[in-house]
Amino acid sequence: MPKRNIPSLAAIALLLLTWQFVCMSGLIPSYMLPSPVDVLRAFVDELPLLWENSLITLQEAFIGLALGVGVGFLAAVLMDSFEILYKAFYPLLIITQTIPSVAIAPLLVLWFGYEMTPKIVLIVISTFFPVTVGLLDGFRSADRDAIGLLRSMGADRLRIFRYIKFPTALPQLFSGLRIAAAYSVVGAVISEWLGGFGGLGVYMTRVKKAFAFDKMFAVIFLISAISLALMALVELAEKKCMPYRYLDKK
């Protein structure tokens, strides 16, 4: 365990202890706020059900993320290649991001039904944006002199993309991916709230109606754990793809 993590872990532990103490002292009735121990117990009891629902949510998140990244990549390449597309669509892109996903999710359910499609569409909408914006910024930060040098060596646009623009944009792509990974889980859960046959969002609405706050907290923790795990996965890929950013300083 790296030393730099100690303060943040200590803070989390302190928070959990305080929470446990408040619950045990009887200041707040246990049906309103379950203690961390209650939540843990609920988590263990519900494990099979949580696992089953997680798989559905994860499947939606992965498919949506993959498609979102694909769409985002394509959009960025097109907008970078054709200035007119950039001028036409960049403002539009920003506008789409001001619409809260909770607001369009019900519409998507009306259009696409209760199956997986509306969930994936919502995730694509919310994940392609960070990828596109990250890549575009990255492409535009490519060194003009380096591009000139490659041109003088006879490189065409495709090769300039391959050898300069794309690798230059990798750090921004990964920042975008990390955000997109977190969005994909949240997006899946939100769209499940609004209708579906399974998944952590559906589970959540079910336990909410039963006023089972301990299970509610258990699923909330699970969702944030999944998001964190996905972000860690992206980080791992980042280190694999960009070893030069993690060189030992000599």
Binding site: D143, A146, L149, M153, G154, A155, Y163, L247
Partner: protein, 244 residues
């Protein structure tokens, strides 16, 4: 034998003339400098020679062939080493070969045989950030050489280096150039550097930039250790200053 010839090149930007009737030639194995103040059109001329810019008038010939406005024949090297930070040194150096369609494995093999000559052995798998400025410039030079084996076009290549490294490069470069039979066109604003390294010096000055003189440095190569402290050296310097 003439390697490179620039014939009566003129170039304007937005109605402002930058270069006027520039003619120069570079013979095989020669190191020729183009000396002039910063912002005097030197870099424009370089871009014309490398084919990235088309001149308004005039032409550029490589081995007698007209290459005006055609990139991909002559490569150049700048003050910025332009080593791509995300590629290892060997993959940076192999880039021109990859662009020519050589397979990756074969390209690596070809470049690795040149590393010792450029004093770069052991750096193959390192990244540019791990090398000193002087080493990066050597790698950049090797990359230039991998692209065009007979002619190097260098735009103030050593001016970002510290004095000691620069002086080491001045001692190193003529030797390696002779070993690999390279002809060099060298842009610089550093008079001492030009006298120290060149066989001939073209003086570029005025607005628009013109060639205002040609100085031949008769001192034989390799140059004496203390050439830059001799009266001859000062005489050349005086002559250049009077012409600029």
């Amino acid at each position: 034998m003439v390697k490179l010839e620039v014939r009566k090149v003129s170039k304007s930007f937005e109605g402002k003339k930058v270069l006027q009737d520039i003619s120069l030639e570079l013979r095989r194995g020669e190191l020729v400098s183009l000396l002039g103040v910063s912002g005097g059109g030197k870099t424009t001329l370089f871009n014309v020679i490398s084919g990235l810019l088309k001149p308004d008038e005039g032409a550029v010939f490589l081995d007698g062939e007209d290459i005006t406005g055609r990139p991909g024949r002559i490569s150049y090297m700048l003050q910025k080493d332009l080593m791509l930070p995300y590629r290892t040194i060997e993959d940076n150096v192999a880039l021109p070969l990859l662009l020519k369609g050589v397979k990756k494995k074969e390209a690596r093999l070809q470049v690795s045989s040149m590393f010792p000559q450029f004093g770069l052995d052991g750096t193959e798998k390192q990244y540019p950030a791990q090398l000193s400025g002087g080493m990066r410039q050597r790698a950049a030079l090797l990359r230039t050489y991998m692209f065009s084996r007979e002619l190097a076009l260098l735009d103030e290549p050593f001016s970002a280096l510290d004095t000691l490294t620069k002086s080491a490069m001045h001692k190193w470069y003529p030797g390696v150039m002779e070993k690999i039979q390279l002809s060099t066109l060298f842009i610089t604003h550093d008079i001492d550097e030009a006298i120290l390294l060149s066989d001939r010096i073209y003086l570029l000055s005025g607005v628009p930039g013109r060639i205002n003189g040609e100085i031949i440095i008769k001192e034989p190569k390799p140059r004496r250790e203390d050439f830059n402290l001799t009266p001859e050296f000062l005489e050349y310097k005086r002559e250049i200053l009077s012409l600029l």
